[in-house]
Symmetry: C2
Subunit: 203 residues, 2 copies
């Protein structure tokens, strides 16, 4: 539908723009996951849009990377929902969180590597969707007496976030075996979240 000036109707223009944005972000997630150093041009081609359209929506590689990370985090959050971490023993739920979270990390390893171009603060901000779920699990575990309460809850969220991403980096750089990463992560997070320095420790 054209208006009197011969341009597309605003509502249609908006719908077109939304479709372009969705295609670009999906292409960015897929392409960065396979090749972290993919160029903007490659992503425009994969999304079936021109460079002008790409840059109209995503003025820099950084902005596009942030949108791609946010979409991957949304997928990871949906996977966590399916992993059912909101009920039963918090320690066992932590095990399910590690397995679900690690399978998301493996799927998006390349994107995470590309995400290293973002500042740590921006990268973390785009993870809000999963950080909220982790915080809810920790609050539940603390209320049930399963998780420690001697350090701030927000810090325990950070311990999970940091060690997940540290393990991903270790695997990328060949210092940790991908096959044992979930066991190592779970063995580390369980004690980091449940134990506290005991009176027996010679401090």
């Amino acid at each position: 539908m054209l208006d009197v000036a011969g341009t597309a109707h605003p509502r249609r223009r908006r719908a077109d723009a939304e479709r372009s944005i969705a295609s670009i972000v999906s292409a960015a997630v897929e392409i960065f996951s396979r090749r972290p150093d993919a160029s903007m041009t490659e992503i425009a081609a994969a999304a079936g849009v021109g460079r002008v359209t790409l840059y109209a929506h995503f003025p820099s590689r950084e902005v596009l990377l942030e949108a791609a990370v946010e979409q991957a985090v949304a997928h990871a959050s949906a996977a966590l929902h399916a992993a059912d971490i909101d009920d039963g023993s918090a320690v066992r739920a932590l095990g399910r969180l590690v397995r679900s979270g690690w399978s998301s990390i493996e799927r998006y390893q390349g994107l995470l590597a590309a995400g290293g171009e973002l500042s740590p603060a921006r990268l973390r901000a785009r993870h809000a969707g999963v950080l909220t779920r982790i915080e809810r699990l920790i609050a539940r575990g603390q209320a049930a007496g399963e998780f420690r309460t001697d350090v701030p809850r927000e810090w325990l969220v950070t311990v999970c976030y940091s060690l997940f991403h540290a393990a991903a980096q270790e695997v990328r750089e060949g210092r940790l075996d991908a096959a044992t990463a979930t066991e190592v992560l779970e063995a580390t997070l369980v004690v980091a979240l449940t134990s506290r320095p005991g009176p027996a420790d010679p401090r």
Copy 2:
């Protein structure tokens, strides 16, 4: 001393270059620590060299940042030497490592923030000087039966490195109180390094 072509003697030129490099790196450590977004021009001015000299030695901000981080890590490593972490109880030495390491982190907070511009792999590579010391302490604690041996030693080094830097980021972004950061770090690292998931854990 001039040679027949009227240019400075190679040995003198080399000594001049080394002095310039040392001034630039020291200025970069100091200026970035105060203002993470400082420009190359500001650093050239603080070092008392021209922009041409600066770029001759450090062709990009990234290369200069890496040199600055490496120098700060060398200071942190010297501080660890003074903290005497190579003898006595490994758990108590871990406490000294946390206090010494944290005081280095506080001193170089701004530089660490600027270091976020480097890829995680390059940032970690510049930390080799302290990672070696941490690994030595962990090996000692494992040999003495104080530290866990159920996860790879290299992973425990990564846990220390990651949580130190995560705590620094938390403080920078106002999510963790700087005054309690050493206690929180020590309380987390002691259990992460000494405990292992017990048979009592309902897994």
